[in-house]
Amino acid sequence: MSERKRLSPLLPVAGAVLAGLAIFSCSGGEQAGPANTPASADGPRDTLVVGFQSDADLLMSVVYQSASDSHVMSGIFADTYKATMDCQLDYKPYIAKSWEFSEDGTQISMKLQEGFQWADGTPLTAHDMAFTYELIRDPLVASPRLTYTEYMTEDSPVVVGDYELLWKFTRAYDQITMTAHTGLPPVPKHKLEGADRATLRGNPLVREPLASGPFKIEQWLPNEKIVLVPNDNYQGPDEFKPSLNRVIFKILPEYATRLVELENGSTDVAEAILVADADRIRKDHPDITMHRRGWRSMDYVTWNQLEHADYKAKKANVAEGEQVDWNDVKRHPIFGDRAVRRALAKAVSVDKLMADLLTSETGEVYAKRSVSTITPALCNTHNNDIKPMPFDVDTAKAELAAAGWVDTDGDGIRDKGGVDLSWKLMTNAGNARRAKGAIIMQAQFKDIGAKVEIETVESNTFFERLRKKDYESALSGWSAGLFVDMSTMWKSGDAQEFNFPSYANPQVDELIDAALAEPDPAKNALMWKEIQGIIYEDQPYLFLYWMDEIVGVHGRFDNAKVDVLSPFHELWTWSVDPNQVKYAR
């Protein structure tokens, strides 16, 4: 009997899979909207979908912590001022209609716009602003914004009338910073007056905020998306009225996924795009525009000037809360010497680092030499006259030899007093740019007779060790603040937790105090510039480069504002030509 040929069992399976895929390809989908989509009265408006790195946590100005919180809040809350950036922070009227400094600079008289209201119709008044600062001061709240009130009097701001405030300070300081410190978006007093302040972060208003700005939250699916729609109750100036139907923050923690979604059209904005990917996207997707955000973050190498084992031992012997006197700690044999730090700076070609790590295939450079921890975006305060250290291997070798570092034993590594010119360079895991940068620098240091061992550690461990000064050198980075205050990083003393290199220069300490106390922006800018010059000469860091962050935005969006203040700034201005609308709902 001949065997009947059997149909392959795979065939029905394959058929089912193909049929399923066909159904799915035709069903719903991002491209087509429902057939009965109603257009708005002004013509169709679009939806902006932003690929967001992480979900928001706390949508309240008094307690928010993350960048995600800040981005969402900027859409749903009216700010006291509208911030712009043109070489320095500049403030324009928003809720605050006008404000004036007193002659001695210790008071600000502020008048508010009438007409702003909360989404429940309650007017937004000076009482809300005063209450906001009362919450910040309350230790039960543990507000991260506590420093805003550092130089305010206990009763500040004083409510003069429903739409008038008087801000009082114990001393005058930089007026831009003073203005910023009075600019926190207000919270609704009528909703929070009786709230338990110890658990304010758990208050329902934090997750279901009462909007006062151009947008409000329509939907928040945790770890999925946050949907903003125009706030019907918004009564502010017309210039802030949104031109979009919706803004959707889609939570995409993985970088590769954010890129895929931008390229396949699922999202319209992706921030922090790597240089190599930006090149590819430009080529493959001419409808996506790559925006430069500005100099917001930098990489640097910090040299610990204290011998870390001795510091650790001394720290263990002081009582809780007491500080170690750096004068009692042994200096690091290599980095404790200013001349050596300056020589090492000449051994590294920062231009090569920028070329290898931050330059596109077409030759576009997304970095510039760094000479300061003040971002070049603050061009009024950044010292543009500082000449970066030249890459000069011969001079580096000569300076090291002059400092006593010569290869006495012929092993290719310089030494002095029995100590090799050898150290560990710590960097955090998961950062490919820094990993490559460390390898490049390792080779460059080898050329001048130094041996560097790269130590890659997990991020939490990395930051803990930096804080505890449990390192020799570290390749790290800063995200630049837009308020100029160099004290946390450069004032000496163990209390300055962010002074990672244990830098101590009494002249710098004095100048920082003077600059912080100087209210005139022009005068204090000069002081900051002088401070930057001194620090750069001392080389507590090997200053590397500032990076230009790349943000990809779909080209159909007009007025897309991408700048150093935010990768999606002033969302109410973003609009789409009616003929190019993709999502008509």
Binding site: P34, L146, S266, Y583
Partner: protein, 322 residues
């Protein structure tokens, strides 16, 4: 059977305590703590101290451990340090999404694995058998996260027929008809389900192949053939029931792997499940959320193993638990 189930559940208690103690110990040994997130130049040190005091992070580890166990016994998972929301709420927002993904992956594992293993057994030593073996080994060896990225690249970018992330279409889902919404959910489950399940399916295929080959050599199968039954009837009706016994045993063991695999797959596909929740909680050292998640996952693993044991007893009448 009832006493067996009760005994298994009672044994889960020391298991839960052991897991929580281990996790708590690991968190304590890891560098930093939850206040690290507040360590920025803009946040004054006194705020960090206030937060430490508020959450008892300034107290000794032993004190905090006992407090935590006491709360857990009362069913209180505590509050998230960052969101200050009850951990119970946070977990139970994410849990159904992980269960859904795991169930779909389990279906894929069983369906694909059993189908391929059966085909291989029926076509032993043929080119189909060899081809499926090679492909199975390829997928079995592949790291899940790499497979996830490749699936995303191929089916969401190069040939964009499936969505690259999320549970639903972020823009249009709410405007779809119920049937379209159902299809939308299904569509979004395909890639993460496959990423999580295909490697294990390859393993199941191997088990199924060898198990079925063993079964179809039995005397009763020869008797069935002699009676003139078709190969399909013999294989499916008579052979598979016995061949599936080891597969059911493995079913319970797959759950922990699904949960651990979901950590990476959920992150890549932005699936709002417990895997992602755990990753974020670990990075921010949000201890109450970490402990709560592991507590729930341990319970799920125990439940999964129990279900597997019950299924085994149902399928094989020789198995009786006492």
């Amino acid at each position: 059977m009832f006493s067996y189930i009760v005994r298994k559940l009672l044994l889960a208690i020391p298991l839960l305590i052991g897991v929580i103690t281990l996790i708590f110990g690991l968190i304590e040994l890891s560098p930093g703590d939850a206040t690290d997130r507040f360590f920025t130049p803009e946040t004054p040190p006194e705020v960090r101290e206030l937060i430490e005091q508020k959450w008892g992070l300034d107290k000794p580890a032993g004190h905090r451990y006992l407090l935590m166990i006491g709360n857990l016994v009362r069913g209180d998972f505590g509050r998230s340090i960052f969101q200050e929301r009850p951990v119970f709420d946070i977990i139970f927002e994410a849990l159904p999404n992980t269960i859904l993904l795991s169930l779909v992956s389990l279906l894929i594992i069983q369906f694909v694995g059993i189908t391929l293993g059966t085909i291989q057994a029926m076509r032993q030593y043929t080119p189909s058998d060899a081809g499926i073996s090679v492909v199975s080994l390829f997928f079995y060896s592949m790291p899940r996260f790499w497979l996830a990225l490749m699936l995303q690249l191929i089916f969401a970018l190069m040939w964009p027929i499936l969505p690259s992330s999320g549970m639903t279409d972020a823009v249009m889902h709410d405007y779809m008809t119920p049937f379209q919404q159902f299809l939308d959910y299904c569509k979004h489950l395909i890639l993460p389900g496959c990423a999580l399940g295909i490697a294990s399916a390859a393993g199941i295929a191997r088990y199924m192949r060898s198990s079925l080959l063993e079964v179809i050599r039995q005397d009763y199968i020869r008797t069935a053939r002699a009676k003139g039954l078709s190969e399909t009837t013999i294989t499916v009706k008579h052979g598979m029931r016995n061949a599936l016994l080891p597969i059911i045993t493995i079913l319970g063991l797959q759950l922990p792997f699904l949960f651990s695999g979901s950590v990476l797959v959920e992150t890549i596909f932005a699936w709002p499940g417990m895997g992602r929740l755990i990753v974020e909680a670990i990075f921010t050292q949000d201890t109450p959320v970490i402990i709560g998640c592991f507590f729930v996952m341990t319970l799920l693993v125990v439940a999964g193993n129990l279900i597997a044991d019950i299924l085994y007893a149902l399928v094989d009448p020789r198995i009786r638990y006492s």
